[in-house]
Symmetry: C3
Subunit: 467 residues, 3 copies
């Protein structure tokens, strides 16, 4: 079956609305891409690596794709997850995807993938058992072209700004190398992601905090040391261009502890004997500490809470983390963030962005909060809900309380490098479709809608992430 | 920019549906306004006060508007919140609103405000930095006209019935004065709002219950006295025309206590030493007591639960309550109301209306409950979700289980007096749009839809509030 | 008023989308009906019973209908609930329904009922006070026809497969009789519904487990005996054609107990003195045990959790259970199912279907889970949310994460035998409408949509229930 991308894809079917959506979209479709949160490995860009093969490029690292194949009975190992695939096996893995193509109907994974086929690889064939080999060969030969390297692609894609996600102890050598090359104009910056240093009850915490001491040269033997070392590393990240810190914990709690109790719990954690409950309490205190630091150094603080990581034990054991077995849980925002917002919610230097997969908090909690607190922004739909219908639900749930200015701007949050243009394009199409609905219902003027569309694409992310 | 209100505003774009919506709307657009729950100060009507200036009329008291300006960096004091503004400052406050007009895009605040500009003030200018002064002057001169007083406006707006919200100890003198004037035909009645008398663990409770004793002449030294005094004041309110009592507590709990325990907890509260937990338990008992009274005196009982009041401490300290910092939390209905509904859910004299900002309970709990219990009605969207997309979600969530007869009729819940017509008009447009969708999908006949539209506007509120 | 069923009913109004929906629907509208979960009494089919009168056929047993009449002030006794109605009273009951017909506007009950009037009874009259007697007479004379018996109707309706719901101790004699008649080709099979045997803290448990011992011939004096007896009855059900077991408990917990603790709690339960909390813990262990059995015998396991049964005490006392007073509560899936899925989530022999009335878990928990675990399927909307708008929300909430292949296929879950065709037809119309939207937005090809429509109607239920 031949594959085409319809110019009106994702627009509403009603001719009036569709025409307005198209007009709005035309005015923003070629604006540069700003990607303030994602997971592209910086080394790819630093070394301008050559991609290896279609499978390791498009399938193996993308848990959006591997998870639904897994649900359909495919072994993750056969897709290369934590498994070396030789040339034949890589081709077989790609064929597995193509054979299972119908399971992706209705998903954004299909949308992004087909967009890449046409717009990146120039491959006008729908994936299927019969087209699998032809597609594999087409992509393989694309990979060999000198223009198929990350740096050329960033420029081809119009990516003006790209943030990666990095460990606080990372030396950011890749970023230094990228920044040092003046011939390469897009900005690539690190993001400070300190989760492991804020979970004192986990077995990974003590070694992490040891490493933190080593890297920062600051003794992390007591809580004050931890604070100083974190501040040191944040400064280091800022010097290397970071604009934000990112945090993912089970809940959004931000209750501070009395100073003495924080010290005591820290000492217990250092000794490796803090309880899970106390670990959570200390972590909530530490999250608040990070907000305090943000008011001082101005790094935007993003929260991605409420995920049950590694839901399937046997998969964790066999394949490790981040392979598609993380599952959302419910989240509470109003009460959890009350302590933090009570302290810093009107601080002129703080920007706090809360993302959620629990859609119930959009109209009930996040929009009311962001419609009052200048420091708070509503994160756009993330991960599972970065998808057409969910994005529409998001705008319909938050705009009526918080308008358009209290959201975050689009973030793609992806390690699927080649899908970045398709993801931003999808977001633009859907925001334009939403605005077009408002225009068609006489709730917004066309000029205002055009201004808003542009604002959402370029001004808002720049403002929210201080770019 | 010139400002116009499109006759088809808020109707769906599809021509078939739009035409049906328009036809339905035309049949109800001029029906009288019944406003069974709101916050207009009765003194305004009793004294037929002259409004002072555009800012104190339209901005300062309206926390829907001040909150989003606050989120956009405006100091509440600059909008006159708990602050005296001289003439220049009032004009500057109005300009702040106009300059920030784009932040209201997509919100009902914009819709209501623009409706007022055109339909009340005859001001055909979109708010902006350049139009601010002209608008201010236009509204100022409108204010001076003798027809711009509350009584003339109520008649101009077609407000047939208006309920205010009042403290149980209020002497209702304003209401008596209004009722005593036979030349003024609209009905203005009080609503019994006893929240503070039902929160025994709050510092405000003891003085409130002292005042209750004084006003009622009944000793509130024990629980029986509290009951008798409350019954006395309810009777007083009924004599002054009240049709309902209104209640807003953190949860919907209605678990009765054994009589002896209620007495003991009451005594502890009287002594000022009840715990927060026991205060909540006694409050839940008292809420049930109010339902029992309702079965006897026939006052409709409305519940507006699950709001975290005064979320931002510094704002409370500086500006007091009700300035836009109240934030919703999740609510549970099925189990919380089980005790009350077990006792009174089929009582022919009880009408209980439950409002919610937590939309998750519409299809899961409220519609199933109201589809079984004759005493229960589903409150229409309230506050943050009194907005176009949310209202559509509401009808789509409850009608399939509970039809149209189990809802409450529209309430505007506003102190923004001049916005009342626009709010009722918005509700009519959206209900007609929903009905039109059903007609266009052949799920309802056009005649039935017209009958239902009329029922929702006039018959349902009259029935639910016993008007 | 005359009654007609519009051929485009339930399709979107937009002409483009409607035409696609119609084309898709035409391709599946006459496919056979597969009903893998419902509550038709098997004796009706075994004995090919004659129906008695319109009221006992259409109203009395259908709590979807009686509950909304009850909310509208009708006494359940007047509808025949747990009450004998003579001929006049039956006619009066039917008239009550017709007089209250407007309360069903916007509900699927109206849709199903009117579909039956036209398509089953050939009665082209809208229910009302004036049409009540004519309708009653029309249906009464229809009942007398020899073709109005269950077996003829199953064939007329195209019901190829029908599962009933049965007690594990049932001898399945009706099913044996049906299966033994080779002239009757539709398959009618039992479903193993062991709820009462898994609730050790209920007063009904001890006698149930005694009966289980008697019927299975296995001593249920200890936990091992309970396990063996349950396995024995499952085998008996499988021999009689069962394809699934069905479970409805308050939560979805699946935490196993240490073997010794399970034994101890079982002994306490046997002695009639287990606490409610321990009863719940043992029940969660037993639910996991059922999953383990499912991995061995291959019966599909369906869960219908989170209902507060018999919400209104006085109604339970007067009329018993299952009369419309069951009310949903919130449910948690991710953490509750983690233990079970950790053990069996990738077991090739397990199919676990989770239904919910709590729509919040669709996008947040169920779709992410079913998009990873091969054993898990998302149940289609059930009970209160088996309704047009809710079904659309369901597809929009789950497809983007889990596509179309991870859902369950439609189940009608009804004892309203004559409504089965209308229910399946409604589902087909709505799935086609959803697919048509995707086609019109260029998110899916028309051929793919047609293939998916057919898959959802016949292939998916066969696959999920191993038919």
């Amino acid at each position: 079956m031949s594959l085409e991308l319809h110019p009106d894809r994702l627009f509403p079917a009603d001719p009036t609305v569709r025409d307005i959506a198209r007009e709005l979209y035309d005015s923003v479709s070629t604006l540069p891409i700003i990607s303030p949160h994602g997971h592209v490995p910086p080394q790819w860009i630093a070394d301008d690596v050559a991609f290896e093969d279609p499978t390791s490029l498009l399938i193996t690292p993308d848990h959006y794709i591997t998870r639904l194949l897994h649900a359909s009975g495919v072994d993750l190992a056969d897709l290369g997850v934590r498994t070396h695939l030789d040339a034949d096996a890589a081709r077989r893995a790609f064929r597995l995807l193509c054979e299972h193509w119908p399971v992706f109907r209705g998903t954004p994974m299909r949308y992004w993938f087909e967009s890449q086929l046409v717009e990146v690889f120039g491959a006008y064939l729908e994936p299927s058992a019969t087209s699998a080999d032809a597609l594999y060969d087409r992509i393989s030969s694309w990979i060999e072209a000198p223009t198929s390297r990350p740096r050329a692609l960033m420029q081809q894609f119009g990516i003006e700004f790209l943030a990666t996600t990095d460990d606080p102890c990372d030396d950011l050598a890749h970023h230094a190398r990228i920044a040092g090359d003046e011939s390469f104009t897009p900005r690539v910056v690190p993001t400070f992601r300190p989760d492991v240093y804020l979970e004192p009850a986990r077995s990974t915490w003590v070694p992490a905090v040891d490493r933190l001491a080593e890297v920062s040269g600051i003794d992390t033997g007591d809580y004050a040391g931890w604070v100083a070392a974190m501040e040191d590393r944040r400064a280091y990240f800022r010097e290397h261009g970071a604009v934000s810190t990112d945090h993912s914990h089970r809940d959004l709690g931000t209750q501070r502890l009395p100073a003495a109790e924080a010290e005591t719990l820290y000492a217990e954690a250092r000794a490796g004997r803090i309880s899970v409950t106390d670990g959570d309490r200390l972590r909530r205190h530490m999250v608040d500490e990070m907000a305090r630091m943000a008011t001082e150094d101005g790094l935007t603080m993003t929260l991605h809470p409420a995920v049950h990581r590694n839901h399937h034990g046997p998969t964790l054991e066999r394949f490790g983390a981040d392979v598609g077995a993380d599952i959302p849980i419910g989240v509470e925002v109003t009460q959890a963030l009350a302590p933090l917002l009570g302290r810093y919610g009107t601080h002129p230097n703080l920007t706090l962005v809360v993302f959620t997969i629990d859609e119930t908090v959009y109209s009930r909690e996040l929009a009311p909060l962001a419609g009052f607190y200048p420091a708070l922004r509503i994160g756009v739909p993330w991960w599972f809900i970065d998808a057409p219908d969910a994005i529409r639900r998001f705008r319909a749930a938050v705009s009526e309380t918080a308008g358009f200015t209290r959201t975050s701007g689009f973030i793609d949050d992806t390690r699927a490098f080649l899908s970045i243009p398709a993801r931003h394009d999808m977001s633009r199409r859907l925001d334009c479709a939403h605005l077009a609905e408002l225009v068609a219902q006489h709730r917004l003027g066309l000029d205002e809608a055009a201004e808003t569309a542009r604002y959402l694409v370029v001004d808002q992310p720049r403002q929210v992430f201080g770019i």
